[in-house]
């Protein structure tokens, strides 16, 4: 199972506590994980990536295994530790001052 950690507001929208566990078929990539996440929680559509272009929203970042994966291709395989469930795929709201 793929482990996904959502930020506070998206956990509230999805009505989940803690990590989300997803079964993902085929290659484990940003795209396949996000596709599975949105299929399981349709209310998250449009909140992480654009409805039409599927581009990552500007203030959303993707981290895993102490790496920032935000700028990479959505079709690059995620780290093995994410694919085998040892490490979570982190969806993070970018920090903002105030």
């Amino acid at each position: 199972m793929i482990r996904v950690v959502l930020p506070f507001h998206l956990r509230n929208l999805a009505k989940v506590d803690g990590e989300v566990h997803l079964r993902v078929d085929g290659p484990i990539t940003q795209r396949s994980v996000l596709d599975a996440l949105e299929a399981a929680y349709p209310t998250l559509r449009g909140t992480i990536r654009d409805h039409l272009t599927y581009q990552r929203r500007p203030f959303v970042r993707f981290f895993a295994c102490e790496q920032d994966l935000s700028l990479g291709s959505p079709d690059i395989p995620l780290p093995d530790l994410v694919a085998n469930g040892s490490e979570p795929f982190l969806i993070v709201g970018a920090v903002a001052g105030g």
Partner: protein, 371 residues
């Protein structure tokens, strides 16, 4: 037993303020959707238990929430606002053409007769409709595809469609306003549109009397007189007696005619309210005195209403969607400030008192009058 429900959208959530018909004691609930910007919450005139809320975030985009039980529970509905066809371009700040990009929903206007039907005004300016309770939204593209569209330009707050008025006597007639394109009217249910800006004069655009380009801040209408419209423009209070075909300035003796909201008394179609703000460079009341001004003659002759409002050291603003009226026998007036206060008057503005003082900055105020 009658009562009111005041729907307050803020920078960090929605708040619901409830009272009985006396409007002296208030029950406050919230924040709903804590941490999200709530640009608008509005109830269906056809079913007071049906409400829609526009919930947005710079991080996570747009959500639309719906309540079917009078704000006890909320559930997200469709949040996909896709422009019809190839969106095209409008004027950008630097004079170049810029693609239309959806940013947020500013205003949701439920149908007077069908709880499942509502219009949504969005930034970048366009009008959408749902007929299935928010299950899906479809653009009415005739507005954005008006031949003047490529000349529309955002104001400092973005190119938002912030006002939607449906004529209660003619369901085919809709009036909308866009900052900073101006006012438009459809007489065929939103299929085609025409600018209704004749008589407006705006010094901040190259041709002050241009067909489009005016920064209209808000338009209000009394349902008994749908041809009479009142407008708070960037500067100037304007009035139309012919559904927007022509406008006359009615600023009269106001100390300043810059401001954002304007509204009409529920039972007196000639009685209107504005909140004068010092200038477009200083978005706060003159001399730190928060005043609502009332005209009982449809403009030109105005009186300040100060009883209960702070008259020293007050430097808040009142945004365009942040004033509303109830329809109880003694008309209630409500407005929210960028300082987080929501003030209420249960006597048509003669006296005021805060319902709450320390909310996040208030973006919108609507009222449901409950029987």
């Amino acid at each position: 037993m009658s009562g009111v429900r005041v729907l307050v959208g803020t920078r960090k959530g929605a708040f619901i303020l409830k009272s009985d018909g006396a409007r002296r004691k208030w029950e406050v609930s919230g924040p709903h959707f804590a941490g999200w910007e709530i640009y608008h919450v509005k109830g269906s005139p056809a079913d007071p238990n049906r409400l829609y809320a526009s919930q947005s975030s710079g991080w996570f985009g747009q959500m639309i929430q719906r309540s079917d039980d009078g704000v006890v529970t909320w559930n997200p509905v469709d949040n996909k606002f896709a422009y019809d066809g190839v969106p095209g371009t409008h004027m950008w700040y630097d004079g170049t053409q810029h693609p239309w990009e959806f940013k947020r929903v500013w205003h949701i206007e439920p149908s007077a007769t069908d709880p499942d039907t509502a219009l949504a005004g969005v930034e970048d300016a366009a009008l959408f409709r749902t007929t299935d309770g928010g299950g899906s939204w479809h653009e009415l593209p005739g507005l954005r595809n008006h031949e003047s569209g490529p000349r529309w330009q955002p104001g400092a707050g973005g190119m938002c469609l912030h006002t939607i008025i449906q004529d209660p006597k003619n369901p085919e007639r809709i009036v909308i306003a866009i900052s900073a394109a101006g006012a438009f009217r459809s007489d065929d249910g939103g299929a085609t549109w025409k600018p209704i800006n004749k008589g407006l004069s705006s010094k901040h655009i190259p041709d002050p009397t241009a067909e489009v380009g005016h920064c209209v801040h808000r338009i209000a209408m009394h349902p008994a007189h749908p041809n009479r419209l009142y407008m708070q423009k960037h500067w100037d209070i304007m009035r139309s007696d012919d559904a927007g075909d022509s406008w006359q300035k009615v600023s009269g003796n106001l100390p300043t005619d810059f401001g954002f909201p304007i509204d009409v008394h529920a039972h007196e179609p000639e009685t209107i309210y504005v909140v004068p703000i010092k200038s477009d460079s200083e978005h706060f009341p003159i001399d730190g005195k928060l005043q609502v001004w009332r005209s009982k003659s449809g403009g030109n002759e105005w009186e300040p209403l100060t009883n209960g409002l702070p008259q020293t050291d007050c430097y808040v603003n009142v945004l365009r969607n942040a004033m509303a009226v109830d329809s109880l026998d003694s008309c209630g007036i409500y407005f929210g400030t960028t300082g987080g206060q929501v003030y209420a008057s249960s006597d048509a503005g003669d006296t005021w008192a805060p319902i709450v003082r320390d909310l996040p900055a208030v973006l919108s105020v609507e009222v449901q009058t409950l029987s």
